[in-house]
């Protein structure tokens, strides 16, 4: 016999009218936001890896029997890194293939630059940048295949094999050169080492994805619960009419999955449409090529299916009560209490973390793992805390709105927790990332330019020449071989202390180039590149995590608030009819969110700060005060955005209570 589930589900969905359609629309919107965010996170992860791979060709892979010499150098202009790849075809060897982004191997004297570097060359005076490069011929352009980002600054220069820029002295020498300077004989460009500026990108994104997945899953799960009350009533009636629990679950699953799939598909379409805009969001070395952010159809299909499945499972889990006790749900007799085991587990995790961190220096990685453990434990603890908060506030509430809000909290603590969990956990993440790891201690290299030389004698000789070159260029500087700031990193060379701003520094780097015998002069940014790459990514990760968390939390709060209005429209209508002012109902709704938000978001943000302090202690770094300010601003803005999202359903509340006579129907 043919199953009645599908036709009955379709019939009920059609018959649910405007009210049912509104709930389904909200659920679909939540699914759309969920799939859009998940696809964006996935795109960032895969894209970060793809574009890091595009930098690998620049680091030479040694081949004793190679056909060309490749030298990697890194110079800076306005504190932005410029990757310089020097190539020299060896005589009497087979032709070397073209590097990525070029049509042929560059001949001696040819040079190519990325479009962004071309723009910078036009922007800055030649004495500050262009004079570092060959002047003989006009340059060509490096194609996208050789670049990781449209903003990347890259130059490829064809040299003679005898050119100092590809000589052995151009190879790695000092402690700062790792990943920035290298030289080798090569036979091609199948390098495997990602550049210093991209190597940590994917790992940082993965960490962010790990932290953001929970709020996104919560949003999708909330979508499954949208309209739950109406659906519970409807299906409880079906159950009373004789439908089997299996049929009830199947009908719910089919309806929720269909709505979820439609929403997730809309989110996927939005992701596709937003790709050009997403590609303009800078991360690490800059903006993206659109193709780098396209995850491919299999991933799109997987995310859509995953979101739809999540929503279906969430919707079905809310109906377990209907299946087991239809009368209980129909009469709403079961307060959704939380158990003490949640507190016990949370305390156990806290004790474990305390014992693990006490009296020993832990690696930051271990502490991050502990942080994730805490994150999970708080997820268990949150509803219990909301329940207790509701009871305490309910006991002392003086105003009707506060009493209503408190009773709602303890009536459905899990629901209240879901509404605020996004921002609460975002506060934790934000507290950790915006404050932690940002204040990395470093030596002060401000205003200094280092020129590495082959040996100490050359360094002494270069001092006078450096003074002459700087003087001729109008740069006010003191020059010596004394390296108090350890900018030379243990190699011989000259250090110039330059007065003036970035322009003077860039001019000094440019005019001192001839003294380096193949090595490019550099300033503090070169020496700090490794640390800066890590701290910059973490700072960006903190900001991005905050932004996405707030987006998800705001969507979650707004959708849940709207769904609650629709689910409780009859109660609201009857209260209005009895003369309860709209503002009391509205205040109760807002306080329902604000109460746990104030307590929990404040608590988790403080805990995130504490975790950040612990990480900084372990890593020997300092707390970033600017990060703390950023955190405060962001959490405040996030809270305001959530309140605005809840406020956005005020017209809906007004509309559903506008005709109180209908509430009695």
């Amino acid at each position: 016999m043919r199953s009645p589930v599908l036709p009955l589900t379709w019939h009920l969905a059609k018959a649910s009218g405007r009210r049912g359609f509104q709930s389904q629309l909200l659920a679909a919107a939540a699914a759309a936001v969920g799939s859009l965010v998940l696809l964006t996170l996935l795109a960032a992860y895969l894209g970060a890896g793809a574009r890091a791979d595009r930098t690998a060709w620049r680091t030479p892979a040694p081949d004793r029997h190679g056909t060309a010499i490749q030298a990697l150098a890194t110079t800076y202009a306005r504190d932005e890194p410029i990757t310089v790849v020097s190539l020299a075809q060896l005589p009497h060897r087979a032709p070397t293939p073209a590097p990525p982004g070029l049509n042929s191997f560059p001949k001696q004297g040819d040079w190519y630059v990325s479009p962004a570097l071309a723009r910078l060359l036009h922007t800055l005076p030649p004495t500050q940048l262009a004079d570092r490069f060959p002047k003989s011929t006009p340059y060509g352009t490096i194609g996208a295949a050789g670049l990781a980002s449209p903003d990347e600054l890259v130059a490829v220069i064809g040299r003679a094999p005898t050119d100092p820029a590809v000589s052995k002295s151009a190879d790695r020498q000092g402690i700062y050169d790792d990943g920035l300077t290298a030289r080798s004989v090569v036979s091609g460009f199948a390098g495997t080492r990602r550049s210093v500026f991209t190597v940590d990108d994917q790992a940082a994104v993965l960490l962010g994805v790990g932290l953001l997945v929970v709020p996104v899953v919560v949003l999708a799960a909330a979508a499954g619960r949208l309209g739950a009350a109406r659906r519970e009533q409807r299906l409880a009636a079906l159950r009373l009419a004789g439908a089997t629990p299996r049929q009830i679950l199947a009908m719910t699953g089919v309806e929720a999955a269909a709505v979820g799939a439609a929403g997730a598909l809309a989110g996927a379409v939005a992701y596709g449409a937003l790709l050009p805009a997403l590609a303009e969001v800078p991360y690490g070395i800059g903006t993206w090529y659109v193709g780098q952010l396209w995850v491919g159809l299999p991933w799109v299909a997987a995310v859509v299916a995953g979101v739809a499945a999540l929503i279906a499972v969430s919707a079905m889990s809310t109906l377990r009560q209907v299946a087991s006790s239809p009368l209980g749900v129909a009469q709403q007799s079961d307060p959704r209490r939380t158990r003490l085991i949640r507190l016990v587990m949370f305390v156990a995790v806290l004790v474990y973390i305390r014992v693990s961190t006490h009296g020993s220096t832990l690696k930051p990685g271990t502490l991050v793992a502990l942080m994730v453990l805490f994150y999970g434990a708080f997820w268990m603890f949150g509803p219990w805390l909301v329940d207790r908060l509701g009871r305490v506030v309910g006991r002392f509430a003086r105003r009707p709105a506060t009493l209503l809000a408190a009773r709602r909290l303890s009536d459905d603590p899990r629901g209240a927790w879901r509404t605020v969990s996004g921002l609460v956990l975002a506060g934790f993440v934000a507290g950790f990332f915006t404050v932690g790891l940002l204040g990395i201690v470093g030596l002060d290299h401000r205003g200094q330019v280092a020129v590495p030389t082959a040996n100490a004698a050359e360094a002494r000789h270069a001092v006078g020449e450096a003074r002459r070159l700087l003087g001729a260029a109008g740069v006010d500087a003191t020059v010596g071989t004394n390296d108090d700031g350890f900018l030379l990193g243990g190699t011989d060379g000259v250090v110039a202390h330059v007065s003036g701003g970035p322009a003077a520094l860039d001019t000094a780097v440019t005019v001192l180039q001839p003294l380096g015998a193949g090595r490019l002069p550099y300033a503090g940014a070169y020496a700090e590149a490794q640390d800066a790459a890590v701290s910059d990514r973490l700072a960006q990760l903190g900001t991005a995590t905050l932004a996405v968390s707030f987006l998800v939390a705001t969507a979650s709060a707004g959708l849940t608030a709207a769904a609650n209005v629709l689910d409780r429209r009859r109660t609201y209508g009857l209260l209005r009819l009895s003369g309860t002012p709209l503002k009391v109902l509205d205040r109760a709704r807002v306080r329902e969110t604000v109460l746990p938000l104030l307590v929990l978001a404040g608590g988790t943000t403080a805990t995130g700060l504490y975790a950040a302090v612990q990480v900084n202690k372990a890593a020997g770094t300092t707390i970033s005060t600017s990060g703390a300010v950023q955190l405060a601003v962001c959490v405040t803005l996030g809270a305001l955005a959530m309140l605005a999202a809840i406020g956005a359903s005020r017209p809906l509340l007004r509309a559903v209570t506008a005709d109180p006579a209908r509430a009695t129907d």
Binding site: A397, L404, S410, R570, L575, G579, P660
Partner: protein, 227 residues
């Protein structure tokens, strides 16, 4: 002698359908009036119009001689809160509040401190046979108990008029009879008037008078005299 509540020449139309076609009605203190009629006759429209929930297209509604149908929404809302009580078929109790807080809520909305509001609310439980159920939530009460809590809530603000819309519609016969007996007697004891819509003749029989509505008109209107 004057009516507590009066509707004079009430007219209400929904598009081309006339729900009330010039209804006159008066209700006195301690008076209980049942409004009966077939579906679509206009009985619920009459109750909602008298209660200031919907505005008539014609005629006037007077509460102790003062016209109320032309008041602004905020004042009407305040009037419903302070001077009227409502009992519906079901669903008027907030499921998350215990019974005593459901009863105390209108008093708190009027600005009474919570402790006093709850104390006053509790006074209603024994007379209505709800002793010991103060902390139960609506879902933990039987249908009859929940309706008695709703009656307590309607009367807690000492209203001039209690409006009841099918108050026994969701109850069995015996429970319904018990609830309506309590509703009429307690309302009378409190000096309030009762206007009740019902389709059940046995329920209507508990009221002092029965108004039968048909096609938007009262078919058996009888002049009321204050006792």
């Amino acid at each position: 002698m004057s009516a507590v509540l009066a509707g004079v020449g009430l007219v209400k139309k929904y598009g081309s359908t006339t729900a009330l076609a010039g209804v006159d009605v008066e209700v006195g203190a301690r008076d209980s009036v049942a409004i009966m009629g077939p579906s679509g006759s206009g009985k619920s429209t009459l109750l909602h119009t008298l209660a200031g929930i919907i505005r008539p297209d014609g005629g006037q509604v007077l509460l102790r001689g003062d016209r109320i149908d032309d008041l602004g929404e905020n004042r009407l809302s305040a009037l419903r809160r302070k001077r009227f009580g409502f009992v519906f078929q079901s669903g008027q109790l907030l499921p998350e509040l215990p019974a005593e807080e459901n009863v105390a809520l209108p008093l708190m909305l009027e600005g009474l401190p919570r402790a006093q509001a709850v104390e006053r609310a509790r006074r209603w439980f024994a007379p209505l046979g709800l002793d010991g159920l103060e902390l139960r939530r609506p879902g933990q009460l039987s249908g009859g108990q929940a309706q008695r809590v709703a009656i307590a809530r309607a009367l807690a603000v000492a209203p001039d008029v209690v409006f009841a819309d099918e108050p026994t519609g969701a109850l069995d016969q015996a429970t319904g009879t018990e609830v309506v007996r309590l509703l009429t007697s307690v309302t009378r004891e409190q000096g309030a008037a009762l206007v009740m819509v019902t389709h059940d003749a046995e329920v209507a029989a508990h009221c002092d008078r029965v108004l039968r509505v048909r096609d938007g008109r009262i078919s058996n209107y009888s002049q009321f005299t204050v006792s």
